[in-house]
Symmetry: C2
Subunit: 438 residues, 2 copies
């Protein structure tokens, strides 16, 4: 029988796991240094929890699960795999009114999208999310920028940019371009979102197709005239936009100032009024991080969503968060040679000299483990040559042999496979020796 993975999914073999967990550990340590607490939710939700949150395109990508596994006689579908970690958080907040606000939570876990698999795009992938619920203060948005900035720094990224915008600025731009309702506003955002890919002429064409008038489009572009720096951009936008846009400009300015006070390098921040972000639920600032090289699109993104919890509950709770895309981060780190080297788990192989000596080898393994040494006992074919080969192929540093001579003396031979050096010592001492060489 030929056997395959489900399309768009991957196994992580130990070498991958050991490298990736160092990346995750770094991210997690940064999240906790900012006071975020871990939360986990089920991988599947009732289907009505997920529908209506991700836009028409997103919704098509939700994985549906049959009712009670089987679907009953009518093949009913009542559950679905989570599409992101944000909607489940909003559900948790709605269902747990006792959670003390402001609430900082992180969630590092898999999400699923039935997307067309491509290079670097999978159907199962990890997100690393931090969110602050219950704060309307620009400080909360700034904390999200600071935690993102710190995480990217500590992962070793040198060249990256965090672009900032605010949905209220975008709404005003859409209004300037002639958008009359939320549908045409969305339409404007979808077109503007493609600016990086299709250029201004392309966006103009799309907008014309969508019924926007040329002179109104021109008014919007005028507001988008590039300025010398962020302060100038914000001042210029504040001048050009209406009340809602001014509100966005003022808020974004406060977010930016607070982020810088929290240690974010101003050179890493760029106010970019064309940044749209796809998801429906954002209401205030939106942000996105990209690395200068290689060109892989954004490696993190987020924003403020003050209306999502209210979809699930009478009591609305303002929220802001950021999500790091682990797959792209790992891809970029691998490409730039930034991934940590990960050795094997075990440090030592205890060989089995012969059936007669088995008990002595097991006692030695037991002593090493009791000392805290990560130890494999060889359980394969009995030839000593194979056992040496195994230890070398696995990349272990140490080898222990207990032959009849060693057994008679109550010692083991401890060999350092890197240096070739070997000595006869008691198993417990061998443990101490390995530990001190770590």
């Amino acid at each position: 029988m030929a056997v395959h993975l489900a399309k768009g999914t991957r196994d992580f073999l130990p070498a991958d796991m050991l490298a990736r967990r160092q990346v995750v550990h770094t991210v997690q340590q940064v999240f906790e240094r900012f006071g975020f607490e871990p939360l986990d939710t089920p991988v599947f939700e009732r289907i009505e929890t997920l529908t209506g949150k991700y836009g028409d395109e997103g919704e098509k990508l939700i994985y549906k699960i049959l009712k009670r596994g089987e679907g009953g006689v009518r093949g009913e579908v009542d559950q679905a795999l989570r599409y992101d970690l944000t909607v489940p958080l909003a559900r948790v907040l709605a269902m747990n009114p006792d959670i003390r606000l402001p609430f900082r939570r992180y969630h590092i876990a898999k999400v699923w999208r039935a997307d067309r698999p491509a290079k670097g795009r999978f159907r199962e992938f990890f997100q690393c999310d931090v969110d602050i619920a219950g704060s309307s203060s620009p400080l909360a948005d700034a904390e999200c920028l600071a935690v993102l900035h710190t995480a990217l720094n500590e992962l070793g990224f040198k060249g990256f940019t965090i672009r900032l915008n605010d949905r209220r600025i975008l709404a005003d731009l859409a209004a300037a371009a002639g958008a009359k309702d939320s549908q045409s506003e969305k339409s404007f955002l979808v077109a503007l979102d493609k600016l990086d890919k299709i250029g201004r002429a392309g966006v103009d064409g799309e907008l014309a197709e969508r019924g926007f008038a040329a002179d109104a489009i021109e008014t919007a572009w005028e507001a988008l005239t590039p300025q010398a720096d962020d302060a100038a951009t914000l001042a210029y936008l504040g001048d050009k936009l209406g009340n809602r846009g001014k509100e966005g400009v003022a808020y974004l300015g406060q977010v930016r100032d607070a982020a810088i006070a929290l240690g974010v390098d101003p050179a890493r921040l760029t106010v970019d009024p064309t940044l749209a972000r796809g998801l429906d639920y954002y209401t205030g600032p939106v942000f996105e991080a990209t690395v200068d090289e290689p060109k892989v699109g954004s490696i993190a993104g987020g924003g403020r969503y003050d209306g999502l919890v209210g979809v699930f509950s009478k009591q609305d709770i303002p929220c802001v968060g950021v999500s790091l895309g682990l797959e792209r981060i790992v891809t970029v780190m691998a490409e730039l040679g930034m991934l940590p080297e990960a050795g094997p788990v075990a440090e030592v192989l205890v060989t089995v000299f012969s059936d007669d000596q088995l008990g002595d080898s097991l006692a030695a393994a037991n002593a090493l483990r009791a000392a805290g040494v990560r130890t494999e006992v060889y359980a394969g074919s009995p030839k000593l040559k194979n056992q040496f080969k195994h230890a070398n192929a696995r990349g272990y540093t140490w080898l222990v042999v207990v032959g009849p001579d060693e057994a008679a003396e109550g010692v083991v031979t401890l060999k350092n496979l890197r240096t070739g050096e070997q000595q006869r010592i008691a198993a417990a001492q061998a443990g101490a020796r390995i530990l001190e060489s770590r």
Copy 2:
């Protein structure tokens, strides 16, 4: 809108997460001390990978997923959530012939079964599995017993028992009872598996219903006559059983001896020839761990399955492994007061005295984090009283205030909320002070 979790699933809020991750960490440290390496597989597999592996009852509980999420026009199902971690491992071994054997892997992850939810039984739950692939040696089985024994010890369990049996012993017992083929052998095992619940008379009734003759059943019971200790049980069984059973007895004896040489307390082991274990794929030793109190059923189980990889590949690979059920382990630990107390993630709350002082508070937070202190900056309502209340309610040990006086002096007030003691020092020194008190 009323909002609910999918049936049989749970959220893990931070307090739960923090306690559970300590349990998982202990288990993982033990797994690694035995040289097992981490592996991860997708949560869903092609449906044909999972079918035909778990028996008729098990198969019904597999969660099916619609093709490409949507199922297309015919609502096709082509994927399913994993039911355990063993079948995915067998698939990985079949698909990766370059994996060096013997291969020790662990996998701590969720599995899903569309079972009827009940106290302590969920549709989404964690398993902690270790397996050794590529060894036919009883040493591999013994390593699985030793890692289980060590994990339970290090979690703090005092009263537990690991029962051992071998499928070859069971096969011979079934033959003695008159089983003629693998179907009636399975039928015998299903009835015997209920001995704990329905007693000998109950099992006899079931066997009679399934067509076993009374005198043959009697012969099987005779072989099951309890003996004084494991050695006597093995000797007695060796005497009563045919060649296949004798093979099982001899192998199990070697496993037991090796486990004891690896440090397993013989008082924790019991050879129990009635132990059946439900899954179809076991071929040699089977084992199961139970705690004396409370009565929750088994908390871990495993065995040897030498034929499963061969289902996916021409090259068969002998395997043995053990799976710890995290939910029952956590349930028992909670009931016995063994769960570690977990404090909040953050150690200190940096308060925001006023909008004017915001920059100073953020600079203080930045300095604390740079020192490695887990720090929340208060982003909620501005009243200082609320901020103090928040720090106490969250259980933080430290509080930092930067008012106008502190700002003028370039210091912060660091208050220990446990002792009430407070001092004015530079933010960086406050960080050092918090670190040294950890």
